[in-house]
């Protein structure tokens, strides 16, 4: 049994060792491709996160210069929690991780306009992107509060995280 009653803000950047599938996917996409969860763990169900289409439609309407698409999946996860499950994203070379985080930040800001002062909302996101000049594929993940996410977005500097 797993317990997730208390959540802390956590972020992580990891280098993907076996990145051949991801590299092919990334090479073939333009902009952002939203993929099912646990793409690297085949034992999990092949489903999209709850906010996938909401986020993708929002991007298509508000940031028309950014391409976004959604990969086929076996279903979409539905949750009754006060959380934003941003789609797992594969970023093509024309979208930097900084641009993606800025995009998520704008989306969240728009979505929490109706929040009450005592509402607490958290975010979960994962994004795969190619780091230049090394050319390695990395995964950025964040789980935690909106406030924590805003801090990460502002201070974001990939090299510092890897120090």
């Amino acid at each position: 049994m797993e317990y997730f009653l208390e959540s802390k803000d956590t972020h992580k950047i990891e280098v993907i060792e076996d990145d051949s599938d991801l590299a092919t996917l990334q090479h073939n996409v333009k902009g952002i491709l939203c993929v099912p969860e646990d793409i690297m763990n085949k034992s999990q169900p092949n489903v999209l996160t709850p906010q996938t289409y909401d986020f993708a439609k929002w991007v298509r309407r508000n940031k028309q210069d950014i391409c976004i698409d959604v990969a086929k999946s076996e279903g979409i996860k539905g949750l009754h929690s006060h959380e934003f499950w941003i789609p797992v994203a594969i970023l093509a070379s024309d979208i930097s991780i900084q641009i993606f985080l800025g995009l998520v930040s704008s989306y969240i800001y728009d979505r929490i306009k109706g929040a009450l002062k005592h509402d607490k909302t958290s975010i979960h996101l994962q994004a795969y992107y190619k780091e230049t000049p090394e050319g390695v594929i990395k995964k950025f993940s964040y789980n935690g509060s909106i406030e924590g996410f805003e801090k990460i977005t502002k201070k974001f500097n990939v090299n510092k995280f890897l120090d």
Partner: protein, 288 residues
């Protein structure tokens, strides 16, 4: 709060009656307040129905928001009615309804808003502390089929251009799940819907605090709009259940040790003492 002349006129036409409702709530004349609100709803609904199709989307959207504002007040009246009728379990759900209407109004409007909204918002947050709910149940499922409430197309696709939660000519878009596979029910601290809780009977010990507050309302010790916040402090009090013996006697718990080496630490217990803090407010400022 409203930008269109039509909706501003509509608000002005119900201003006096709405002020009256607030006074009636404060006097705990809740039946009369509910009747007055019903007539406001009727008035607003009739006016919205006469909106010409040629009017821009914004007018219809503001009409919807105004109805949400009135529903928020209706919920507020119902809440106090349930509370003084000792229907604590139902009052919790109504408290959630009020907050849902508030979120809708906040989402589609910008400052300045009538003060009554921020007052109710703050009260809701504080009133929740009176209840015994800290952990909630939340479902997780795989959606296999969900359609859009407006166009009927699959909501999780680019076929449907609507975005759930947004307004389209006064109608909200949302997904209607037609087929789903329930995966889990989790215990969470922060659910989207706080209505999914362990049910206690209204007479249960768990409602002691809210029952105390309801008694204060009935006895007119405090008026609804004057409730400001709930203060809590830890206090030490004598443990009445502990049989007192001298320090060197054998401990009454039967451990065979001396009392001073055993349960003497339990002579005092720490409990939480709650204080309901009122604040006298000027009713006339609430609709500004």
């Amino acid at each position: 709060m409203f930008r269109t002349d039509i909706c501003r006129d509509l608000v002005n036409s119900i201003q006096e009656k709405t002020s009256n409702v607030i006074e009636l709530i404060q006097e705990m004349n809740l039946e009369e307040a509910a009747r007055e609100l019903e007539s406001i709803v009727q008035n607003v609904t009739n006016r919205i129905e006469t909106f010409s199709d040629e009017l821009p989307d914004e007018v219809f959207n503001e009409g919807y928001i105004l109805k949400q504002f009135i529903k928020c007040l209706e919920g507020y009246v119902s809440y106090w009615k349930l509370l003084v009728s000792d229907k604590y379990s139902d009052s919790w759900s109504t408290l959630q309804d009020i907050q849902d209407h508030l979120r809708t109004v906040y989402r589609f409007t910008s400052e300045p808003r009538p003060m009554i909204l921020s007052h109710i918002e703050k009260q809701c947050g504080e009133l929740e502390k009176l209840y015994p709910y800290n952990v909630f149940m939340s479902t997780g499922f795989i959606k296999e089929e969900a359609i859009c409430s407006l166009c009927g197309k699959p909501v999780d696709s680019f076929e449907c251009a609507h975005i759930a939660g947004e307004l389209y000519r006064g109608r909200p878009a949302y997904g209607i799940v037609k087929k789903a596979d329930l995966q889990e029910v989790s215990f969470v601290l922060n659910p989207a819907d706080k209505r999914c809780v362990v049910q206690y009977p209204d007479t249960a010990e768990q409602f002691k605090l809210v029952a105390y507050f309801a008694a204060g309302l009935r006895d007119k010790v405090i008026a609804p709009l004057d409730f400001h916040h709930l203060d809590s402090q830890k206090i030490r009090k004598t443990n009445e259940e502990l049989r007192k013996v001298s320090r060197n006697s054998f401990c009454p718990c039967g451990s065979g040790k001396k009392f001073k080496k055993c349960c003497i630490e339990k002579s005092y217990i720490e409990t939480t003492h709650f204080v309901i803090i009122p604040e006298k407010i000027t009713l006339s400022t609430l609709l500004q």
